[in-house]
C-alpha cells in the first residue's frame, strides 16, 4: 500500500474535523435559533391578561388561561394513569420476571409501543376510550390516550432506575428477613425514586406537547369556562397553537407567538426539571 505524505494526511484530518464540527453546528444552531426566536417574538405578546384570561372574539384576543389549565390537567391525568402501572411493570421485569419467552415478548412489546406513531394512538383512543367505553370527547379519554402512549417510556425509564440499585441493598434486606415485596417497597423503590420521577416528569412534558392524539380524541378550540370534571371537553396549548397558526385565518401573529412561547416554556421547563433531578441524583452517588 502506498503511504500518503504526512502533510496530506494531516490536511485531510483537519478538513474532516472541520466538517464534523460543521455537522455539530448544523444540529446545535437551529435548536438555539428556534428557541431564541420564539422567546423574542413571544415575550412581547405575553402579559398578565394573556396568561389569566379566557379567549375573546373567537380566540383573536384575550388570554389562553383555559388552554394552560387544560394542559396541566392532561399532564396530571397522564401521570396518574401511566405512572403506577408503568412502575409496577418495571418492577415485574426487573425483580420478578424470569428470562423466558414471555419476558422477551414483553420487552418486544415495549419497544414496539415506543415506536407507534402518536396519531395511531389517537385512533386507538378514539376507538377504545371514546367509542367503545363511551367516555366521550373528554379530558378523561384524552388522558387515557396520552397515558397509553406514555406507558412504554415510563416502563423503560423506571426499569433503568431500578436496575441501577446495587444488588447488595436487596441482599441486606432479604438477609434480615424481609420478604421480596417488602424489599422492593422499602429498599429498591426509595433508592430508584429519583430515576422514576425523572421518567415521570419527562413523560408529562411529552404529554404536554403532544398534539395529534388529542386532536383526534377531543380537544376543543374554544370552550367557555374551565373544565369542571374529567368528563368535560377541554382546551389544550398544543391544539390551540395548531388552530391559531394553521386553521383559523386572520389570527394576529402575536397570538400565535404567544401561545408557542407558553407551550415551549411549559414543555422545556419540565425537561429541565427532569435534567436537574437526574444530575442531582448522579452527584449523590
Amino acid at each position: 500500500m502506498k503511504v500518503k505524505a504526512r502533510s496530506t494526511r494531516r490536511l485531510s484530518q483537519r478538513t474532516a474535523f472541520a466538517l464534523l464540527t460543521l455537522a455539530t453546528a448544523i444540529v446545535v444552531i437551529p435548536a438555539l435559533l428556534i428557541i431564541l426566536y420564539i422567546i423574542v417574538h413571544g415575550v412581547s405578546a405575553i402579559d398578565w391578561g394573556f396568561l389569566t384570561q379566557s379567549p375573546s372574539q373567537a380566540g383573536k384576543s384575550g388570554g389562553i388561561f383555559p388552554a394552560i389549565v387544560g394542559t396541566f390537567y392532561l399532564m396530571l391525568g397522564t401521570a396518574i394513569f401511566s405512572l403506577p402501572i408503568g412502575v409496577l411493570a418495571a418492577i415485574h421485569l426487573t425483580e420478578y420476571a424470569k428470562d423466558n419467552r414471555l419476558t422477551r415478548l414483553i420487552n418486544l412489546a415495549i419497544i414496539s409501543l415506543a415506536g407507534v406513531p402518536s396519531i395511531v394512538f389517537g385512533l386507538f383512543g378514539l376507538g377504545v376510550f371514546v367509542m367503545t367505553m363511551h367516555l366521550g370527547l373528554s379530558l378523561r379519554a384524552a388522558s387515557l390516550t396520552l397515558a397509553s402512549q406514555a406507558l412504554a417510556m415510563v416502563i423503560t425509564t423506571s426499569r433503568e432506575a431500578i436496575l441501577a440499585v446495587p444488588r447488595e441493598y436487596r441482599e441486606a434486606s432479604l438477609a434480615i428477613g424481609a420478604t421480596k415485596w417488602q424489599t422492593v417497597r422499602h429498599v429498591v423503590l426509595p433508592q430508584a425514586s429519583s430515576g422514576i420521577i425523572t421518567g415521570a416528569v419527562l413523560a408529562m412534558s411529552r404529554a404536554a406537547g403532544e398534539t395529534a392524539p388529542i386532536l383526534v380524541v377531543g380537544a376543543a378550540f374554544i370552550v367557555p369556562g374551565l373544565p369542571n370534571s374529567p368528563f368535560d371537553q377541554f382546551m389544550a396549548l398544543p391544539y390551540h397553537l395548531y388552530t391559531v397558526a394553521a386553521q383559523v385565518p386572520g389570527m394576529p401573529k402575536s397570538m400565535m407567538w404567544g401561545v408557542a412561547l407558553v407551550l415551549l416554556a411549559v414543555v422545556l421547563s419540565f425537561d429541565i426539571v427532569a435534567a436537574i433531578i437526574r444530575s442531582k441524583a448522579r452527584q449523590r452517588k
Partner: protein, 326 residues
C-alpha cells in the same frame, strides 16, 4: 462497612418492622408472616398483570385497527385501496386509494433521512471522538432540548420561518410543500440519530483505537477506518429509528406539507402524508362510515411500517450489544 450496618439498623429495620419494633425477635416476625403472605401474593399478582399490560396494549392497538379498518375492503378491494391513486372520500361514489399519501410519506421520509444522516452521524462522531467533555455536555444538552420541542411548535416554526424561505429560493407558488416538511423532519429526527450513533461509537472498545494508533494512523483515519466500521450496526439502527420517527410524525407535516391530494412528482409540490391524512380527515369522518374505516386502514399501514422499522432497529442493536459484550 460500618456505614452499611448502620444503614441496615437505622433505616432498613425500622422501615420494615416499624420504628419501635422488636420484630427482629423471631416470635414477632413469625406472627405477622401469615398476613404478609396474603398481601404479598395479591401485590405480586398485580405486578405480573402490569407486566403483561404492554403486550395487551400493543395487541389492543392492532385489534382495534383491524376491527375498524378492515371493513373498508368490502367497499374498496385491497388492490384498489393500496394502489389506487385517487382519494375522494366525499364524492359520489367515494373512492379510497392511498397511493398519494404513501408516495408523499416515502418522499418526505427519504429526503429527511438523506439530510439528517450525514449531519447526525458527523455530529455523533464529533461528540464521541473529537469534542472535549465540556463541549460534549453542552451539545448533548442542546440536542436534548431540540428533542423536547413539541412537533406542533416545529410545525409552527416551519410555517412562519422556513416556508417563506423555501418559497423564495425555489420560486414556488407556496412554501407549504414536501421539501419544507422534509427539512423540518430532518431536524426532528436528528436527536435520536445523534444519541444512538454516539452510544454506538462510544461502545467501540478502546483497544481497537489503540491498535490503530499503534500502527501510526491519525485520529481521523482511526475514526474513518476503525470506529465507524465497528459501530456501523449501531449507526444503522440509529438511522432506522430516525426513519421510524419521520414516518410517524404528524403535526409538522400536517401544518407545512401543503395538503394536496394528488400523487406528488416533485418534492416542491404540496402533498399529504399518511399521518396528515388521518389527522385532517378523522374530524370530519362519520363514525363507522366509509371514510372512517379507510382512515383506520391507513393507520394500520402506518402501524405495520413503523413496527417493522423498529423491530429491525432493535435486532441490530441487540446484535451490536452482543458483539462488544465481555
Amino acid at each position: 462497612m460500618p456505614a452499611r450496618i448502620d444503614w441496615v439498623k437505622e433505616r432498613l429495620i425500622p422501615r420494615l418492622f416499624g420504628r419501635n419494633s422488636t420484630a427482629t425477635a423471631p416470635g414477632n416476625a413469625f406472627r405477622f408472616r401469615g398476613r404478609w403472605r396474603l398481601g404479598e401474593k395479591s401485590i405480586e399478582g398485580l405486578i405480573s398483570l402490569s407486566g403483561i399490560l404492554a403486550i395487551v396494549l400493543l395487541l389492543g392497538v392492532l385489534v382495534l385497527l383491524l376491527k375498524e379498518g378492515l371493513p373498508i375492503f368490502s367497499h374498496t378491494p385491497p388492490w384498489e385501496f393500496f394502489f389506487g391513486t385517487k382519494w375522494y372520500p366525499i364524492s359520489e361514489p367515494p373512492t379510497f386509494g392511498v397511493m398519494p399519501f404513501f408516495v408523499s410519506t416515502i418522499m418526505i421520509t427519504a429526503i429527511a433521512t438523506a439530510v439528517a444522516v450525514p449531519i447526525g452521524v458527523g455530529c455523533a462522531a464529533y461528540l464521541a471522538e473529537v469534542a472535549s467533555p465540556k463541549v460534549r455536555e453542552t451539545v448533548k444538552l442542546l440536542v436534548e432540548l431540540l428533542a423536547g420541542i413539541p412537533s406542533v411548535v416545529m410545525g409552527f416554526v416551519g410555517l412562519m420561518l422556513l416556508s417563506p424561505l423555501v418559497q423564495s429560493i425555489f420560486h414556488l407558488n407556496t412554501g407549504l410543500c414536501g421539501l419544507t416538511a422534509a427539512i423540518m423532519l430532518s431536524l426532528m429526527s436528528l436527536p435520536i440519530i445523534v444519541t444512538v450513533s454516539e452510544d454506538a461509537l462510544r461502545a467501540v472498545p478502546s483497544e481497537f483505537k489503540e491498535a490503530s494508533y499503534a500502527l501510526g494512523a491519525t485520529r481521523w483515519e482511526t475514526i474513518r477506518h476503525v470506529c465507524i466500521p465497528a459501530a456501523l450496526s449501531g449507526i444503522s439502527a440509529a438511522i432506522m429509528l430516525g426513519v421510524g420517527r419521520a414516518i410517524g410524525e404528524t403535526m409538522t407535516v400536517l401544518m407545512v406539507a401543503g395538503g394536496a391530494l394528488a400523487i406528488p412528482h416533485l418534492p416542491t409540490e404540496p402533498m399529504t402524508t399518511m399521518t396528515a391524512a388521518i389527522a385532517s380527515g378523522i374530524g370530519n369522518a362519520v363514525r363507522g362510515g366509509l371514510q372512517y374505516q379507510a382512515l383506520f386502514a391507513v393507520g394500520l399501514i402506518l402501524f405495520v411500517m413503523t413496527l417493522s422499522v423498529n423491530w429491525v432497529a432493535d435486532r441490530i442493536l441487540e446484535r451490536q450489544k452482543r458483539k462488544f459484550a465481555r
